[in-house]
Symmetry: C3
Subunit: 270 residues, 3 copies
């Protein structure tokens, strides 16, 4: 079956199951993550206290771990809830925000990879190069790495870590071993809004929470974000800018259908 058909079917599966997605994420974009989860048809829960995370994740269909504003308290909760999710066999989507920028972030990412074992890792090229042990220029949490060799980095990292790798950027690359998809949806304006990376991670968790094929879940989540970005940008009238774009981005995810996916999706399935 063609990849776009599979992706559009996965949207139906998501809307049918309405998976509960447990997040431990940053306080900058947490509201956006909750709203994008609702917009696509899943249900968000945000809980981060060590005294309840293992119990809360026992209801969930998938888990997001995002280290955007990590702290000593949330790191322990992430590891504990990640282990519980792993024991339950639900997908764990890890967003290593700013890995490489500080040693705390690098050590935490390493710890989550080793002690938890994420199912999917989504990040930008700078972050992924750091995880792959390659040199990368880092400045804060935004990527400044060039994007050549994305496919090679994704493939190698996927084999090394035994999980799905999703590198988002001008062209997105999703890899699971030698299974690779390139996605050409998206628009540069997405990088001018905070949280579009975090929201892509949440969308991946929404799709993975309703599918057994986590590679497909990652492709579906990333493509949904890119396509919604394109549609939101195209809707802008004269005088409208980034604030209006942000509202329309949620409109577009909320209105996403299998037909829109099949018509607008741009995936190269290698």
């Amino acid at each position: 079956m063609e990849i776009l058909q599979k992706v559009s079917d996965s949207l139906l599966g998501l809307k049918n199951k309405k998976p509960l997605v447990h997040h431990i994420t940053n306080y900058v974009t947490v509201n956006d993550c909750a709203n994008i989860t609702l917009a696509i048809g899943a249900s968000p829960v945000m809980a981060d206290d060590i005294g309840e995370v293992e119990e809360m994740v026992s209801f969930a269909s998938s888990l997001v771990l995002n280290i955007g504003t990590l702290n000593s308290r949330s790191i322990e909760s992430m590891v504990a809830v990640g282990k519980k999710a792993k024991a339950r066999g639900i997908p764990i989507v890890f967003d290593p925000v700013g890995v490489g920028a500080t040693s705390l972030r690098t050590a935490t990412a390493k710890r989550i990879i080793e002690e938890v074992g994420p199912s999917v890792i989504r990040g930008n090229m700078s972050e992924m190069k750091i995880l792959a042990g390659l040199n990368a220029d880092i400045k804060g949490v935004d990527s400044i790495a060039d994007e050549v060799d994305g496919e090679k980095v994704a493939r190698q990292l996927s084999k090394k870590l035994g999980c799905v790798i999703a590198i988002t950027g001008k062209q997105d690359v999703i890899a699971q071993g030698d299974r690779v998809c390139l996605i050409d949806n998206g628009h540069p304006i997405l990088s001018q809004v905070t949280g579009t990376g975090c929201m892509a991670t949440s969308l991946i968790a929404c799709f993975c929470g309703a599918s057994e094929d986590w590679f497909l879940g990652a492709v579906s989540g990333v493509m949904t974000m890119g396509l919604a970005g394109e549609l939101a940008q195209q809707s802008l009238q004269a005088g409208e800018g980034i604030g209006t774009f942000r509202a329309r981005l949620f409109d577009a995810v909320w209105a996403m259908t299998p037909e829109i996916m099949r018509k607008g999706g741009s995936i190269t399935n290698e």
Copy 2:
């Protein structure tokens, strides 16, 4: 006096007094709670450190306690600030988000009820059934309980806890002992945006902070949210969805007038 007349008068009282509403709430929807408080004409303050909450609440006209992202630090602050508010005699509006989902939430809700004694509790039917000691299916923080017997649950819980009970759902039920109102405003789209429950709680605190009748404050806050949701939904044009709806929801609360309330309000006063 007819209930809709009282509700619309309470809006004038709120705008005249501009009450300061102290919140300890979750980091997912805290920005929405601050903005809805401003939109209706009150003034929000968010402070949660144990070192200042009792001093901060001494200026406030009402207090919101919301356990959406509770943690060991904020729980102690909630109890301390709640006791101080109680001693001052100002209304305390409690939102037991996700009670029943984890034992930490259930124990915290019980502790706030016993040690603080809220003036108003607002929640969905699942949460309220848990508080009432009834069986309820819980999955995360969204309600999946059916809504029959809402009136009975509200009335019993109000008598048991000695406070106003506001159960929001398809039909909202507000009870204070045998005083009961049913509200038929609202629209299903409200459940597709995060924070509409939290914002209803904030609105209740805004109205209660300007009135001595906390039952009326609860009715006014819940009706305002429902009616604003209807008006925002009706304003949507082709192609507009949940992101635009969210902006319009704030527009509608901001534009609320006694006239709009009397014309659009749908309250059955039993």
Copy 3:
């Protein structure tokens, strides 16, 4: 060179350098601060754990310290990161939210001023009067002080603390010793949205991160916020209100150009 020309040139400098602005700020408006930073053309990073803040700020071009939801953990991080920023010589923009409302806030502001030494302090008139040791009525975090003598307060406080003082209100006053600017941009609707003060602080840090003249940076940041507020308000159609205004505010900052600044700016350079 005329002040409006300098201000509009500073926007070009900002867009050219794209400074990284490290924030430790409150969880109420942090998303707005990140988005306004992106909208003007800078890059935000929010990190507050004591284990990484000094390392993170070593990449940054400027630092924001905002005590809106201070806590015992974040206060220590603010002092540590502030000292590091000071040692690096990058500008530190301090927003003493609610100083005077609680002794914790007053003590923390005093500590940041003494131990860190901010480059710019932005606040409302109540907050600035407290810092200046004058009597001021405080109720929560919004200003209720009258605004006469703003110029005198700003000038004295600037000399006392050896930094740039930006007092925002109906008329904004920026002072660095005897160098004073009065800004008449802005609109009352800005006070009906949470975070417009915090965002003005972030914009100051964006401009200061790309300029060696921090007085000019403060003037540019405050004027940008006020002018964007005017333009956003003017764009409102019938039936649109505060929610739509908020989206347009980001549109207006994103669309800001040197020409718009020179045409719409209203600065008295004393």
